[in-house]
Symmetry: C2
Subunit: 437 residues, 2 copies
């Protein structure tokens, strides 16, 4: 009977992440918070500990090889999707403000995060310190967008700068991660690391050219027929590049997946391919990813020292982003109010921070005991951002058209699909009833 | 590096099943043949054996725990989808002809298949013999539909009868499987088996009522907002019922998934939910399922005796379906020509036969060495059906409107989605360029 338990685990994960997400949305919080909380609650940390102390048996969801593999696939698909949403032309259009904000917003948290580690663990390895810094660098695009969308402030000058900065921020964070994973792999040999990164860039360009030519040729000869092959080919590209990044170039697999996503965004049928991954992500892989992170947390290992570290990490993560990004915005000539809005909008952390931390854990660069503090930091950052943003944007609304509107498309599409299906069913029922007459 | 090989395996599976499917479609064969062949070719049976004899190392895709778990999930999703496509009202409308054809088309192959086993292995356990019979019972709906669609004969009297019979056939085949798995589980206790089946039916009715009320309530209060929760809830229902069927009622998990699908087909938003599983199936789970079956075949174990068995199995599978269904059609008053058409249309075997065989293997009721013959039988049946059907339907075309047209809807939808995305992107680009002016 044991062998069928994965079915029940998946069922509980799907139900609980969805229900917790709905609850956190009702509470005006990003849904990520709910999804993470679901894993924490049904995992060994809460339900496991509770049932053990009350009934003497551990009755909870447990981490399993299948779940962690699916979670890995989940990360790859999340990063692949993020890559597909990164439109290079839009980034160029939104100018240097976004880039400067992103750059200072990466460098300040990186430095402060590493500094914090040296403070708490003097003599820690440099790669470990930088890794904790890297965890603090990545703003969560999805959380920022969702918050701004709810506030109706996506198209203000601040909103557009936040969006552009968050996208560039992801790429900078990944470059960080690339360099660090390259360095942590073997004895530090910077020349070799940069050779490998250069090789990877060449590989991306070549794969991009091959895929682009193939898609252009296929698009011309097939048009809108046999559409299923495109998402399949896209996914195969993603898996291949993730594998190659890791095994051939010694770079994180998620960076390969992200690069594959950017290639697809530039190819014909890119939008169609992107629309298909939405489903596979929210229907299976993303819930498993979030829940799995919660499952791997064990609360009892939190010492007083670690609690202090958690508190310091939260403070540093908020201040470094707010200060770093605000500074960048000020340097670009935005006023004080706008700089505060932008800084506050970038405080959100999410998937990418978790992914980086997870990567560090896997590479034995981050100690397992730090996962608890990091998750708590992410949850607190995602909880406070919408609250402070709401206040910061009070009264600011504009109707300018910008990159923000792209994100509204995919939401609409779902609704249209549904009404179309309804209409087709009615027509079908009608025709059938006539043919019976 | 080993730990990242699953990415490459998945990439090869996606690419090869797709390319082989396209090739088999070009050759006027059902795509299932190609998908199966891909696993056979890249697995130990062909590529593994070839590389070993030429280079001394086995260089091929290998079965792995992750792949087989994903394949299991794949079967569950395939059966869940089949359940969602089974519309009880349509079945009732197409009358008793479909039912009689399905019934004789199940009983004759069941008897002849079991007889064949007794002939080749005198003294074989009764459950094993019946299991081989059960493998022969299930006509593949998808293959039949695809063949008839290509021929443009879906709406003839014969075409409609075939479709109805194929759907009922699936259900009868599953009832067979339910009884057999129930019997094989422990010492045969028919009363207990029927009690469990009765319990399961009650469970399905209760789950159906709960889910239906929930969906009706949610549909009324939410309308077309927050659509994502429905597919998630549907999948959770499927996983829960699959788990419960197996662990609580001792019935195959796939029957639980099929029942969950039928419940969803009757609920509000059923069409929307069904449309979402298409993607997850063809993008990940179905290719892995087909390829995995091919991967598990090892040709060298085929003795002369087994080759003879293969030949006999092929002959029995064709004759028993053709004869059984033809007989049923004749009993319902159709003419000789129509009875032949119907019989021939039902010869196709596919997913369900494989699923039943796989189940038998897992339960140690079917010997591993019989998997090769069964796969060859399925491939041959799917290859000859379109060829003979083409001949049988020569000149028969009609424009009657029937249950057949439902299957064309989902194909259309993909194309519409794509052109809509294109249109929205153009509008977006246009608006953006204007706002920049």
């Amino acid at each position: 009977m044991e062998q069928y338990n994965y079915l029940l685990s998946l069922c509980v994960i799907l139900m609980s992440t969805k229900i917790f997400s709905i609850i956190s949305r009702r509470a005006q919080l990003p849904q990520v918070v709910g999804a993470l909380a679901a894993g924490l609650f049904f995992g060994p940390a809460v339900l496991g500990a509770l049932t053990q102390s009350f009934f003497g048996i551990k009755f909870c969801l447990m981490p399993s090889p299948l779940l962690s593999r699916l979670a890995e696939l989940g990360v790859i698909v999340i990063m692949f999707t993020a890559g597909m949403e990164t439109n290079i032309q839009d980034l160029r259009a939104s100018g240097k403000a976004g880039f400067v904000v992103a750059l200072t917003g990466v460098l300040v948290p990186l430095g402060m995060g590493a500094g914090l580690m040296y403070l708490f663990e003097p003599g820690v390895a440099m790669t470990s310190a930088i890794f904790v810094g890297a965890v603090l660098t990545a703003t969560s695009v999805s959380i920022t967008v969702e918050t701004l969308k709810e506030l109706g402030c996506m198209s203000t000058k601040s909103g557009n700068t936040i969006l552009a900065a968050a996208l560039i921020d992801d790429i900078l964070g990944l470059i960080c991660l690339t360099v660090i994973t390259g360095m942590a792999g073997e004895k530090v040999n910077l020349t070799l690391v940069f050779m490998k990164i250069l090789g990877f860039v060449g590989f991306v360009v070549i794969m991009g050219l091959i895929f682009y030519s193939f898609m252009t040729w296929s698009d011309r000869s097939q048009g809108s027929k046999n559409l299923r092959r495109y998402p399949v080919m896209g996914f195969a590209l993603c898996l291949f590049m993730a594998w190659a990044a890791e095994t051939v170039f010694g770079i994180a697999d998620i960076i390969g997946a992200f690069a594959a996503g950017m290639i697809i965004a530039l190819s014909p049928k890119g939008n169609y391919i992107a629309s298909k991954f939405d489903t596979i992500a929210y229907l299976l892989l993303t819930p498993v990813f979030f829940a799995n992170i919660g499952l791997e947390v064990t609360i009892p290992s939190m010492s007083l020292n670690l609690l202090l570290f958690t508190l310091a990490l939260v403070v540093v993560s908020v201040i470094s982003k707010l200060g770093g990004c605000g500074l960048g915005a000020k340097l670009c000539g935005l006023n004080m109010h706008q700089s505060y809005q932008i800084g506050m909008g970038m405080v959100c952390r999410g998937e990418v921070a978790l992914i980086v931390a997870d990567k560090g854990l896997e590479m034995n660069v981050i100690n397992e005991s730090y996962m608890g503090p990091i998750i708590i930091m992410i949850i607190i950052c995602t909880i406070i951002t919408p609250i402070f943003l709401k206040d910061a944007f009070k009264g600011d609304k504009s109707k300018e058209y910008g990159i923000s509107d792209q994100f509204a498309l995919s939401d609409k599409l779902d609704e249209v699909t549904e009404s179309m299906l309804d209409a087709e069913t009615s027509i079908y029922t009608l025709l059938k009833s006539r043919s019976h007459e």
